[in-house]
């Protein structure tokens, strides 16, 4: 998911280096607050990707450090998370960027006659 600029400057797309797991977690949380198990199930359904629990917690910690998600009060032993306003904005920017690159790729495939 390394979509971004090659000029070395930190662009507004803060998710470009966050990794695929982080983007998937953010997309899942865009649908509402979820805890770990629900996130894994939702991402499996949504993208066909089975996130390992270690990968999931790594992504959650990274996103929380970036201020893109926040934990909600614990329910029993489970800690639900929700997307923050900066998280939603970052996801929007990232998806726009992915869409732009995807469109460019499709156009090139058409022009190249492949």
């Amino acid at each position: 998911m390394a979509v971004g600029r090659r000029d070395g400057k930190a662009g507004p797309d803060v998710l470009r280096r966050a990794g695929e797991a982080s983007v998937l977690v953010l997309i899942s949380l865009a649908g509402g607050p979820r805890h770990g198990y629900a996130l894994i199930q939702d991402i499996k359904e949504l993208a066909g990707v089975e996130l390992g629990p270690g990968t999931l917690y790594g992504a959650l910690d990274r996103l929380e450090r970036l201020g893109l998600i926040e934990p909600l009060p614990a329910e029993d032993r489970r800690h639900p998370y929700r997307i923050t306003a900066p998280g939603a904005a970052a996801l929007r920017v990232h998806l726009d960027e992915v869409e732009r690159v995807s469109a460019a790729g499709r156009l090139r495939l058409q022009l190249g006659g492949i």
Binding site: G36, G54, T55, Y57, R65
Partner: protein
């Protein structure tokens, strides 16, 4: 794999995380592992994911919150912790492979012809025991001496 063994494997993997992480996510992570294994995810895969996560957790630099002087730590501590986590992963994989090998009909699938059981020499195996030591829960080691297979 039986449940207590699975739980031990996952607990061992979770213990590889830093204490701060264990305090925060430990209980939930253990519960999540139980749910995933119940859903059919292989226990080894869950444990391995946690071990890889632990290695990443130790190696990821954290922002320093307090500019307070702390006692100097050994420089290789993070690396050795990561190496420890990887070693534990390798060991757990080895144990799992051993369990699989011992549980399956390894002898039936063996291409070598069946030999009559040779008496195990006490001097070469265990002192005071004329019987071969049964290898329960681990693969049998076959020592070939002068063309005879002996289980020790």
């Amino acid at each position: 794999m039986d449940e207590p063994r699975v739980a031990r494997l996952v607990q061992a993997a979770l213990r590889c995380y830093p204490a701060r992480w264990q305090r925060r996510h430990g209980d939930e992570a253990a519960e999540l592992a139980t749910l995933l294994i119940r859903d059919g995810t292989p226990a080894g895969s869950v444990a391995l994911s946690y071990l890889a996560g632990a290695a990443r957790e130790w190696l990821t630099p954290r922002p320093v919150r307090q500019p307070v002087r702390r006692p100097r730590r050994r420089p290789g501590r993070r690396l050795s912790a990561a190496a420890c986590a990887l070693l534990a992963a390798a060991c757990s994989l080895g144990v799992s492979a051993g369990l699989l090998a011992s549980a399956g009909p390894a002898r039936a699938a063996s291409p070598s012809p069946a030999r009559p059981p040779a008496p195990c020499q006490p001097a070469r195996c265990q002192p005071g025991s004329a019987e071969p030591v049964p290898a329960v829960g681990r693969p049998q080691v076959i020592i070939r001496v002068a063309g005879h297979g002996r289980s020790c």
